[in-house]
Amino acid sequence: MRPRMSVRTSENPAPSHVFEIRGGSVNVPALRLFCSDIPAIIALLQERIQQAPEFFRDAPVVIDLHALPVDGEPLDLAELALALHQNGLVPVGIRSGEPGYQLAAKQAHLAVFSEVRHEPSPRPAEAKTPPAKLPEPKPEPRPAAVPTRIIQQPVRSGQRIYATGDLIVLAPVSAGAEIMADGNIHVYGSLRGRALAGVQGNAASRIFCMDLQAELVSVAGHYKVSESLDPSVRSKPVQVYLSNDALIVEDL
């Protein structure tokens, strides 16, 4: 159940026509920084943007400062936010427990996202069970599971589809179309366009397809164009994956 409340005012337009506040969660990628060197951050970012320009265009991003070395140079948050904007991203907030950064965020009109993860409220049955033993040290919070995106319609020439998790296409992907995913890609129609798995750098992601006629296949930035695909795998059911930085295309 998502919380849902209407806000009432004494003014005349019916409140339901003004706005509604709805609980909800959006999936915003986080830029987790390991150093505060802005030129280095931007240089790497630009490289990533080139690999998946569509994914990054106007994409909101949260700047995660938790992994910054405590004794390192402090980060100039305002400058980083500006540089992100200049590269087509939309920084929406930061994640940090540091009061200094939280203040800087406020001044840069960035939201501060609390560190506590909003877990779904426990169901009554769970709530009643008494803790059996002392709470163990809390494991690293797991990232929320990203739902798989399923496409049932043909992906046409000129269309681009991006999935933050896995992508399953139950129809053909035309020449001139582009499908991308952070995770794995499955195509059950003919794959004639471009398919890029692991566009955020996940080298373990794979492409599976029933009929490989692709213009390009790529896993985590390692790609092959049609011309360099071995004729023995053309028009076959195959999988594409990375092994020691080499792109393997192999019969299923």
């Binding site: 319609q153 043909p154 992906v155 046409r156 020439s157 000129g158 269309q159 129809a171 053909p172 035309s174 020449a175 001139g176 179309a177 129609g189 003919s190 004639r192």
Partner: protein, 269 residues
């Protein structure tokens, strides 16, 4: 409320205008009140194919600009009372068409007509996107060659994302494949894609196959939609298409090389 049909393809010279003329005449002959609009501002030729080029006073752009009303601009066909042509402007530039203006004209036509057929210009520019924006149905005219199929595929992508129905999250435009200028001989020689090849690439409902035919040129030279030439293969094929569109089950014809007649079969090699 009229149903709005766009005849589109992406590529020029594929047979869109030929098809728009044939389908609109075919629908009118089936008793449907039909209007056909030429969206090809600057390159108008629907009026030529319909044989009404000498009766053009006002055009589509005049109506959009409020310089004429629809009744003044619509040209009534001399052969069929149910059919009206709204010609394109030859003199204005393409920007004269606005989304709002087109929307108003279509809304007005919708009150009086059963079908409005929009003959799209080539390309994926303004004229073409406006012609499809308000469509309920799309007839995607494709020739059996790789580049034409690719263009149609691109057009289908645009139909699926940039139409009014798509933007408002309504039921998507119904898409139909019409394969035109089909030559079984050339398919056999491997010079052209077969119906199956095209179907396989586009995965779309096949509305019909129009053979490559001399009758088309003759018809356009005489300003008669080819569907009126019911002795011709292309005319019959368009007749089938209209009946299929209206829900009849009609087997596909003209997919195979013409068989020799009885005489030919008895005495031919």
């Amino acid at each position: 409320m009229a149903r709005i049909i766009v005849v589109t393809s992406g590529k020029g010279g594929g047979g869109k205008t030929t098809t728009s003329a044939a389908i609109s005449m075919g629908l009118a002959l089936q008793g449907k009140r039909t209007a056909v609009i030429d969206f090809d501002v600057g390159l108008r030729n629907l009026d030529l194919i319909m044989g009404c080029e000498r009766r053009v006073v006002y055009d589509f752009v005049n109506v959009i600009n409020g310089e004429a009303n629809l009744n003044q601009a619509l040209i009534k066909d001399k052969r069929c009372d149910n059919l009206f042509v709204l010609p394109a402007s030859q003199t204005r530039d393409k920007d004269s068409l606005t989304q709002e203006g087109v929307g108003k004209v279509l809304e007005n036509l919708s009150k009086d007509f059963d079908y409005v057929v929009c003959d799209s210009p080539a390309g994926i520019e303004r004229g073409a996107t406006l012609a499809m924006y308000y469509a309920d149905d799309a007839v995607v005219v494709t020739n059996p060659e790789v580049s034409s199929v690719r263009d149609s595929d691109r057009m289908l992508g645009i139909l699926a994302s940039k139409s009014r129905r798509a933007e408002q999250g309504e039921e998507p435009i119904k898409e139909y494949l019409l394969l035109t200028r089909y030559s079984p001989q050339r398919v056999k020689l491997g010079e052209m894609l077969s119906v199956d090849d095209v179907q396989e690439i586009l995965s779309l409902h096949l509305l019909g196959v129009i053979p490559e035919s001399k009758a088309v040129l003759n018809a356009s030279n005489s300003g008669t939609p080819v569907i009126l030439d019911d002795k011709s293969d292309a005319g019959q094929a368009y007749g089938d298409v209209v009946r299929r569109y209206l829900g009849e089950t009609v087997p596909h014809r003209f997919l195979e090389e013409e068989k020799k007649g009885l005489f030919g079969r008895l005495f031919g090699g």
